[in-house]
Symmetry: C2
Subunit: 196 residues, 2 copies
């Protein structure tokens, strides 16, 4: 009968969401049960419903909090005064840091969004499209200004975003390669290529 332990400045709902993200990441949303989630919090499953409305609401919270952080940041960077390539680099670096520092939530948002129910599913996909469109526009500008090769911008943004999202597989090598090397090498690879 112990209560759910909260951090300072955090509600019990926040703790539940955070634990849900970790659980959904390791077991997937559908395979993770409310009983398991409750157990990881030291509580019985029905007790969760004093704090949340439904299982789906947890997924919504995870997906939208993450999604909104991405579009807010890309908007901020786009409005700056740097060169296109510098802006792209800033976006890639931000995305890499988000992947590494908010691993659980970003992982769940990237993998489990398909289990959102309408209208949340459509809303989430809109956020995603907005994010991608912002970067596509940036790349197109770069091509127009001659900063970037005339590649198809859809392909370029897919390549970039897929590469950084792939950091979800990184955990295991964390020991051998520092975050600095990882960030620098990936940015360098995506902007300047692999060949000498």
């Amino acid at each position: 009968m112990a209560k759910i332990i909260t951090q300072k400045n955090g509600t019990r709902k926040d703790v539940i969401i955070q634990k849900a993200a970790a659980l959904y990441k390791s077991k997937s949303y559908t395979a993770a049960s409310m009983r398991e989630l409750a157990e990881s919090l030291g509580v019985e499953a029905p007790s969760l419903y004093n704090h949340i409305g439904s299982k789906g609401e947890l997924l919504e919270a995870i997906c939208f909090r993450t999604g909104n952080r991405f579009i807010d940041q890309v908007r901020l960077i786009s409005e700056g005064e740097e060169s296109i390539v510098q802006k792209l680099e800033a976006i890639i670096r931000f995305h890499i840091r988000m992947m590494l520092e908010n691993f659980d939530e970003v992982f769940v948002a990237n993998h489990e969004w398909k289990h959102l129910q309408e209208p949340f599913l459509s809303d989430f996909l809109n956020i995603r499209r907005t994010y991608e469109k912002s970067i596509i526009d940036l790349i197109q500008q770069g091509i127009d200004r001659g900063e970037i090769k005339p590649l198809n911008p859809y392909v370029a943004v897919l390549t970039i975003l897929s590469a950084v999202r792939g950091l979800e597989f990184w955990q295991r090598n964390k020991k051998n390669v520092s975050q600095q090397v990882l960030e620098n090498d990936m940015v360098n690879h995506l902007l300047n290529g692999l060949t000498t």
Copy 2:
């Protein structure tokens, strides 16, 4: 009471696996029920068990058929006589084609392998590691020979494989960009970069 329709040279089990891949892709393995799978085949759920042993067996078939195709091909390419960069290009192009031509199965293998049970889970992860290790070795050779920049080869292979795996999000744009442009631009991006 209509029977499951088979193609020439294919068993009913093959048809079930193929439909399972499509279903697991769109709904995820855990969320997809045997009753749904049966319905998509025009049959009742228990009838499936005349052809298969269990739900898990279907996932195993999908994951291992796909995984083995990847390591077989990368071994074949590695043994050739071309330059390192040419070999890398061949691997990237093969991976892109696999993604586009065997979409459902590759998608499921990439996303749902975590629901494999032991010992299949370990076996599958071994296949994955073998695949990645082959490419890492290739990149290291390229660095040693001066064909490739001295980037961390783990980071480089993560970037490359994540980028091509990201083609799972491609379907929607299929109309606007041809497969040729997609393949060429992504290869060019991953090998030679984005900047002018």
